[in-house]
């Protein structure tokens, strides 16, 4: 049996190798191990999400599917949230991880030439419109919910 292009025994051995310890780490060595386990779990779920998106032609990126799988997993095994706590460090680094993409965005934007200014105005208007509409709609819906109760 081959799952996501990986032969099943290999997949099973891989899952067994990243067996998640059930309690939060205490010593420095345990914290390092928990960090490595966390990275392995997160990378594995990224790959699994990508594989599912590819196989099922889902209209969302693989990592978001991986995140949904992790939420589903944690609702079954809440204790694992403590082991994976070092993932918070990775979330704190998110802006840094986006930085190369922003630097690489300069090329396509510079290629626009005279259209750059209207494109930037359009992007700004759409961002503000989405933010204001989303917050306003959420607040109105919350108000309607509280009134109907």
């Amino acid at each position: 049996m081959v799952m996501f292009g990986i032969p099943y025994p290999v997949l099973k051995a891989g899952v067994a190798a990243v067996k998640v310890p059930s309690s939060a780490p205490a010593s420095a060595a345990e914290r390092v191990r928990a960090g490595i386990v966390t990275l392995a779990v997160l990378a594995g779920l990224t790959l699994l999400g990508d594989a599912l998106v590819g196989a099922l032609h889902l209209p969302v990126p693989g990592p978001l599917v991986g995140a949904a799988l992790l939420v589903a997993w944690l609702t079954q095994r809440p204790a694992h949230a403590g082991v994976l706590a070092s993932a918070d460090g990775l979330i704190a680094a998110l802006p840094l991880l986006f930085l190369p993409l922003l630097v690489e965005a300069v090329g396509p934007l510079r290629a626009l030439g005279p259209a750059l200014l209207p494109v930037v105005i359009t992007m700004t208007a759409a961002t503000v419109a989405a933010l204001v509409t989303a917050v306003a709609a959420a607040r109105i819906a919350a108000w309607l919910c509280s009134r109907s109760r």
């Binding site: 990224t46 978001l64 991986g66 396509p108 105005i121 759409a126 933010l131 509409t133 709609a137």
Partner: protein
């Protein structure tokens, strides 16, 4: 040469985090956009050198499941407002991009690339390509728009009163970059933003192919 791009990116990032008042992603991006060509690094080798950081983006997005899980009770209580906010915000992003772009005289091809920009970059690129727009420009617009949205995060938190509503706005309007900003400001906003980013990716993939042909007719 590969390590040069990585070291340069990290060095500029640390310098940028010491600069008060300006979000580091903005000052660092401006500095790198100037430094990379000035040091004679071509864009392709910069992209290769900085790719370890980009490779961690996927796992970091999966990691957003943790704040989502911790805040699940609070989010579940605000499920209806959250879904209403995300759908309205998603539609507003697409419609306003098409209407404003058209009013400013942008070509249909450019408008098609900008319409899905509120979705996270890979979704924006694939939706734009399906609409007949340039995928590279769509990804660039998504990233730059995300930074614009993240700049508005403190205002959104004040205007929304409930941090969960601010998170809904930031995740919808500014995907991962807005979510990253929300994560730095408020845990409840971070969890809401992560779920909004996921749902908005789906909403944009469904709504943009319906709305854009209708608006461009």
């Amino acid at each position: 040469m590969a390590l040069l791009a990585l070291a340069l990116t990290l060095g500029v990032w640390f310098a940028a985090t010491r600069l008060r008042g300006v979000p580091p992603i903005l000052s660092a991006a401006v500095a790198l956009a100037l430094l990379v060509p000035a040091l004679g690094i071509d864009p392709a080798s910069y992209a290769r050198g900085a790719s370890p950081l980009v490779a961690l983006l996927g796992p970091a997005v999966v990691a957003l499941a943790l704040p989502l899980f911790r805040e699940r009770a609070g989010l579940a209580r605000r499920l209806v407002p959250a879904v209403a906010g995300i759908l309205a915000g998603s539609a507003a992003a697409i419609v306003s991009a098409v209407l404003v772009g058209h009013a400013l005289g942008l070509s249909d091809a450019l408008v098609r690339a900008l319409a899905p920009r509120a979705a996270t970059a890979p979704v924006a690129a694939s939706v734009a390509a399906a609409l007949g727009g340039d995928a590279h420009l769509a990804a660039a617009a998504a990233v730059v728009g995300g930074v614009l949205g993240a700049l508005l995060a403190p205002l959104a938190l004040r205007f929304a009163r409930d941090p969960r509503d601010a998170g809904i706005g930031l995740g919808t309007a500014a995907h991962g970059i807005g979510t990253a900003r929300a994560a730095a400001l408020d845990p409840a906003a971070s969890a809401a933003a992560a779920s909004a980013m996921a749902l908005n990716a789906l909403a944009t993939a469904v709504l943009a192919p319906l709305l854009v042909p209708l608006l461009l007719r």
